[in-house]
């Protein structure tokens, strides 16, 4: 049991939060997507999603690029290499914990 608790405590706290876990899982399945896509998929409100993305960007897991599609502003989001590795590790850790 102690070993189990140790494994759980090793899980990445940045990813472990349910909202961020959903964002990272979605980004892991694609090359890149826009803010609108994540908003639509996660069903979070804009403020919540923005704050989660800011936290992930701060950790270096997500790259945020502000661009335009025609004249409309578009925020492109993609998982960094570090983010992908962290997500892989998280999933392995999750399985190892139980």
């Amino acid at each position: 049991m102690n070993e189990q608790l140790r494994a759980i405590s090793k899980l990445d706290r940045v990813i472990h939060e349910p909202g961020r876990l959903m964002i990272v899982a979605l980004l892991a399945g694609v090359k890149e997507c826009d803010f609108l896509f994540l908003l639509n998929e996660t069903r979070m409100n804009k403020g919540n999603l923005s704050s989660h993305l800011a936290r992930l960007e701060e950790a270096g897991y997500v790259e945020i690029e502000k661009t335009y599609r025609g004249k409309v502003p578009m925020t492109l989001l993609r998982l960094t290499r570090k983010g992908r590795t962290a997500f892989d590790e998280y999933r392995k850790g999750l399985m190892a914990a139980f």
């Binding site: 090359k31 896509f37 892989d88 399985m95």
Partner: protein
């Protein structure tokens, strides 16, 4: 995650270990959570297969192949006949990429948002293996069909140039090929609709039609494989196309465009 098979083996090992240690419930909880993550990761890809544009593209390709064959029969002999046939062949080749592009730009993007998929090593491996297998099957079929189809007519002293006659009654190979064509398209139809068929039960009827009708058409329209294939292509193309159109209408009805200034 990088190697799903290795992951699956690891999962089975973990389950066995947990069973031995009497903590199956905990492990199943973790496995369930992991499966949920996998489901979330795969969700964006489903939009590309649930809006019916793939079926429309494939159906259009088959319809164009059929029209190309019919053009050479129906149109009067002229230089234009060949060009019309070639035009339909060209349309058949570009139908699928154009439909997928239009789907992304006009259907998915305004409703779901912009998303680009990863083209990893496994994707390229799949494409190359698919192309090699398709080329192999095409070459094998050509080598099998050409001697079956064409019988050299006995050349006379007056006709030095060899003339050929084409067999117009179906043999076992023709029937087998037509049935194979139905089977291939039926399997492909299931692949196109792996996700959406759970929601659209009527697609099972289309699947059965695509599977069963080619041999029936072969019976109603006797001839060799080349003579039987245009009506079969026309039928299969129509079923694919109609199924795709209905799915697209349903998708558009259930996914309203979202505002572009939501950011």
């Amino acid at each position: 995650m990088k190697n799903p098979i290795a992951q699956y083996i690891q999962l089975v090992r973990n389950i066995e270990r947990a069973k031995r240690e009497g903590r199956t419930g905990e492990l199943l909880k973790a496995a369930k959570e992991n499966a949920e993550l996998q489901k979330i990761m795969m969700r964006p890809r489903q939009y590309a297969t649930t809006n019916g544009t793939g079926e429309i593209g494939w159906g259009t390709a088959w319809l164009c192949f059929a029209l190309s064959s019919y053009a050479s029969v129906i149109l009067p002999a002229s230089p234009w006949r060949g060009r019309v046939g070639m035009f339909f062949l060209l349309c058949a080749c570009v139908a699928m990429p154009i439909c997928l592009w239009a789907s992304k730009k006009f259907v998915i993007q305004p409703r779901i948002g912009y998303v680009a998929f990863r083209r990893g090593k496994s994707w390229w491996t799949g494409i190359i293996v698919g192309m090699v297998v398709a080329a192999g099957i095409s070459i094998a079929l050509s080598l099998w069909l050409i001697p079956e189809m064409i019988h050299a007519a006995p050349s006379s002293a007056h006709h030095a140039a060899a003339t050929v006659s084409v067999r117009d009654t179906p043999n076992r190979s023709d029937k087998l090929l037509i049935a194979g064509c139905g089977l291939m398209n039926a399997v492909l139809y299931l692949m196109f609709n792996a996700v959406s068929i759970k929601e659209h039960r009527w697609k099972w009827a289309c699947f059965v039609l695509i599977l069963v009708m080619p041999p029936v058409i072969g019976q109603l329209h006797p001839g060799n494989y080349l003579q039987m294939s245009p009506p079969v292509m026309l039928f299969q193309g129509s079923v694919y196309f109609l199924s795709g159109v209905i799915t697209l209408i349903w998708f558009l009805h259930h996914h309203q465009p979202i505002t572009l200034e939501a950011e």
